[in-house]
């Protein structure tokens, strides 16, 4: 790969001819605004906040422009990396020595279709959740907004990333909801999937025959590592609330009035064992519209104080510490220590009343309770606003401007229950350095299900650190490494901190790790897919692969021997 200074200006001019001079830049100041990425300091030399600077930023308006620019990039051997709305450092170019065009897809922001009868919407990659939600709610429909919030791209979460959020339990994850999609491969070819490729419209994501989406839409998606998803359709779900959300209250603690056919509760449990029990009861009883554990992201020791301060029109961050020592607040902290939020939506008065009865009976059977203060009108309306719209992402950074979400291994309630103690103990241990925010060991939040219908979820540990204090950054990195060690010591699969750290690793180190995975089939599969759809290597390792011969089985006979564990017991 050429260094950026060696790249012919012809490449720049060719792209400029496609998108216009206003939509390409190599101004270092602007390029650095794309390189400036959350979490960068955890992986970059000298704790820099900057990921590698792109060679140029290009803002296409159409799929055709994406195709044309990608073809120029193939000609001049410039990598491509799309960003729609971004979240995490891996949205940026990953290497300093690889000239990369960063596609900024914000101009592709059209809602192309809302098909009310068939309950789907077609959007371009710059359309954000808030934009689409506002439109579909007018039609009595809703979308699943992912945990990263309403300012994120629908296409990104549906086609290229994880796609879970507080409403996934009822509305489906955005993997469940993905219908037809349009993908520009790194080779510059358009590939449409599902019914769209057969010329039958956007309404179905599967087939014909096996589903082409299979090669890109796995657990995490391609994360920008294998071309650009330019459009997709997503399934919509029922919304029985008002056509327009009309918040009340003073900023930032906006409140959303609760209609008669909704209920908003924070439910406390005596332990994580009890949390698992009530989860299974809710799952079996199939109630709930939004199911989420939100407020503990601030840490169980401080969460009550923070949120009550947040709701106090005269409160400031300076009040939190004093408030946390108030015995009344401490009582609420204990009640809410192991808690979650649930919002019920009813089709009718009778339906919501029955769901209420069912929830009350579940609470009674499991020895849980409603957290009284959090169920009062002001807090419930705040909860309703927070979780219906997911517009409070600034709160993720509330303590000192930076956080790293570790753990988040998804599994059954029993599985999650099994790792929580290790996560809490480890965080408490590492907080003793005094370099991480001391908010209690349980700063774990997560959506009630990452699969439509429930049964599978994860808790993410919010490790708040000061990104402008190198000692604090170092402490966060140490905590990440400790979490990996804790996982290995306790037989727990590795969590998100491992994915974050990998961004700073060499290819060889990543491949060495990948080659130790118990099943490498998919990594070899992805190498071959990459060879087929990205022959010039324009994508990056966000679509991971294992080089040929790097720890893989080579012969069928060897494969036969490897099957020993598969047979009947």
């Amino acid at each position: 790969m050429e260094s950026s200074r060696d790249i012919s200006r012809d490449a720049y001019r060719a792209i400029e001819d496609i998108v216009g001079a206003d939509n390409i830049t190599d101004d270092p100041a602007i390029l650095d605004s794309y390189a400036f990425q959350w979490l960068a300091e955890l992986v970059r030399p000298e704790r820099s906040h900057y990921m590698p600077r792109p060679w140029a930023v290009v803002m296409p308006l159409t799929t055709e422009e994406v195709v044309a620019v990608t073809k120029v990039c193939n000609k001049y051997h410039v990598k491509v990396k799309p960003i729609s709305t971004g979240w995490y450092h891996w949205a940026a170019p990953l290497k300093d020595d690889e000239p990369t065009v960063q596609f900024d897809l914000r101009r592709m922001n059209r809602i192309l279709e809302i098909d009310e009868k068939n309950m789907y919407a077609v959007v371009e990659s710059g359309v954000i959740c808030a934009q689409l939600q506002a439109e579909v709610m007018k039609r009595g429909l809703n979308i699943n907004i992912i945990g990263a919030g309403c300012s994120t791209s629908i296409v990104a979460s549906a086609s290229a990333y994880f796609g879970g959020g507080p409403s996934s339990y009822f509305l489906g994850s955005n993997s469940d909801n993905l219908l037809g999609q349009e993908w520009v491969t790194p080779a510059g070819e358009i590939v449409r999937t599902g019914s769209l490729s057969s010329g039958c419209g956007w309404f179905c994501g599967e087939g014909p025959g096996p589903s082409a989406r299979a090669i890109t839409r796995g657990t995490l998606g391609t994360r920008g590592g294998l071309g650009v998803f330019t459009k997709c359709a997503v399934k919509l779900g029922p919304w029985e609330g008002p056509p327009v959300l009309q918040p009340t209250g003073k900023p930032p603690a906006y409140r959303l009035p609760i209609p008669d056919n909704f209920r908003v509760y924070t439910v406390g449990t005596p332990s994580f064992e009890a949390l698992a029990e009530i989860y299974y009861e809710i799952y079996d009883n199939a109630i709930g519209y939004i199911f989420h554990r939100q407020f503990n992201l601030a840490g169980a020791d401080l969460a009550a104080a923070l949120w009550l301060t947040y709701l106090d029109p005269n409160g400031t961050m300076n009040d939190v510490e004093a408030r946390s020592k108030d015995p009344e607040v401490q009582k609420i902290s204990e009640e809410a220590r192991v808690s979650f939020q649930i919002i019920l939506q009813g089709r009718s008065k009778e339906d919501i009343e029955l769901q209420d009865r069912i929830l009350d009976e579940i609470i009674r059977r499991t020895g849980c309770y409603k957290v009284e203060r959090f169920c009062e009108a002001d807090f419930a309306e705040f909860t309703n606003m927070y979780l219906q719209r997911m517009g409070h992402k600034h709160c993720n950074f509330v303590w000192v401007g930076g956080y790293m979400g570790s753990w988040m291994q998804a599994g059954t309630p029993d599985f999650v229950k099994g790792y929580v103690k290790t996560a809490i103990d480890g965080f408490e241990r590492d907080q003793k350095s005094g370099l991480l925010v001391q908010c209690g060991g349980d700063a774990m939040m997560g959506c009630g299900s990452t699969l439509g219908g429930g049964g599978f979820f994860a808790l993410e540990q919010f490790v708040s650190y000061d990104p402008n204090d190198n000692a604090s950054v170092d402490a966060c990195i140490k905590h990440m490494e400790d979490a990996i060690t804790d996982c290995k010591a306790n037989g727990i699969p590795l969590g998100k901190e491992y994915l974050y750290l990998q961004i700073g690793w060499t290819d060889e180190r990543i491949w060495d790790d990948l080659s130790k995975m118990p099943q490498q089939f998919v990594l070899n599969f992805q190498r071959k897919i990459k060879e087929a759809f990205d022959p010039n290597g324009l994508g990056d390792r966000n679509y991971p692969w294992l080089p040929e011969g790097w720890g893989q089985q080579k012969t069928i006979a060897a494969g036969s021997a490897a099957v020993a564990g598969v047979g009947k017991p």
Binding site: C204, P208, S211, A214, P238, T412, K528
Partner: protein, 512 residues
Amino acid sequence: MRLYRIAVTIDAMNPPARPGEAPMGSKKESLVQIVGEENVLDDAGTLEAWSKDESFAPHRRPWFVVRPKDAGQVQALVAWANVTATPLVPVSSGGPHFLGDTVPSVPEAVIVDLSGLNAIRKIDTRNRIAVIEPGVTYTQLDAALAEKGLRIARPLAPRANKSVVASLLERTPTVIPRLNYNLPEPLRTCGVVWGTGEVAFTGEAGYGPKSLEDQWKRGASQVDPKGPNATDLMRIVTGAQGSMGIVIWASVRLDVAPTVHEYTFVPGRTLDELTGFWQKLTRTRLGDEVAVLNAAQLAQLVGRDAAAIEVLKAGLPPFVVVIGLGGAALFPEERVVVARKDLDTIVTGCGLTRVASLPGISPADVAAVFEGCSAEPHWKVRYRGASQQVFFLSKIEKVSGLVATVQAAAEANGIPAGEVGVYVQPQHQGVVQHVELTLPYDPGHARQAARMKAAVEKASRDAMAGGAYFSRPYGEWADMVYAHDADAKLVLRTVKGIVDPKNVMNPGKLCF
């Protein structure tokens, strides 16, 4: 120990005979070594039986039928097929087969009859996941689940010997739209012997050790279908007609079985009259079972013989939306009461009427169709001795026009429109409509059969021209579909080249 012996045998065959040149005798000897003599069949009657099905797929005899008993034998068979360039046709369900996917498209094929891999490996009641082998039938699984108060989302009146795994792999529609969060539901993860002979698990299971038992020890439950990594391997084997590999186990989502369950009906004179209603119904996720049937379809599902079908058909409304109201878990009676009341609000709002029963059809009849397996002979052959199905996916506003298109094609070929069964199954929580038309005929009547073939061909072409999405392209549909879908063909051929580079898995199907 058996696996070791097979690996040695394959090595001993190197260099292998050139493709197609291995003498029959040596092939049989190899197969006998893998699955045992009693599980290698090549008598004329057996081969003849496997050379055809109820579809119009060209007849072609396989060379052998083999019946592996465990996953190791399956893997050894695929390894052997790679060495000898022998086509394998995996089959899990008992007959009759209807879609042509179990009939070899090329010579020298070996049918891999997976009905012997029929263990229910685990029923995880707490997480509502079952892990089953491909030979497990609906009859078998239903009985095991009933003991635990569970059920599985199921297709309409499957035959008793229908493999659950095969049904789900082929994305056969299921009858409870609100549970259908995505089209493959309730299929979750699979263990697969890929066409290369490698074993790899899909979804969440693809991250763990290559042993279910080891995964269970670590607390994994094979729940998440996504993955592993950036790929969704499960979606490569779904809709594949066995062309990518052989599934040796699958995990499936279960649901709490209702303890109160009733069926109710909303009749209509035309599909158009009912379209808005069932759209609202699925949109609000009201009801469990929701399906739209015409009189001919419902009569064929319920009637015991041709005479009974005629009588039933005459008494039924032209179309009916069947709605199952189920009460599961806590307050089951109250759930049904509330659902019924909410249903009535929608029915009234649509200017329709709800009825509690249909002429000549008992509640048990309806329950058998939606919760049980078809009585024998299977409903598809009960009326005229045989039938052909034309099915596809559609947006809701196109359903009635596409149904009319198929009916017109049938009539143009002498098939009375009144005999054509119409079944519309909302899927993906109402986003997708599965439209299926059943065209009965007498297979012993050569002229009728010829006309039926022409009718199916015309109906399929006309429906496709009208926007029908043939997402499961069996038989001749495959050429029609992939001729117009270069993107899907490109991706699928690339994938096939990776997971089955020697094209030993059911060659000749789809676009391979």
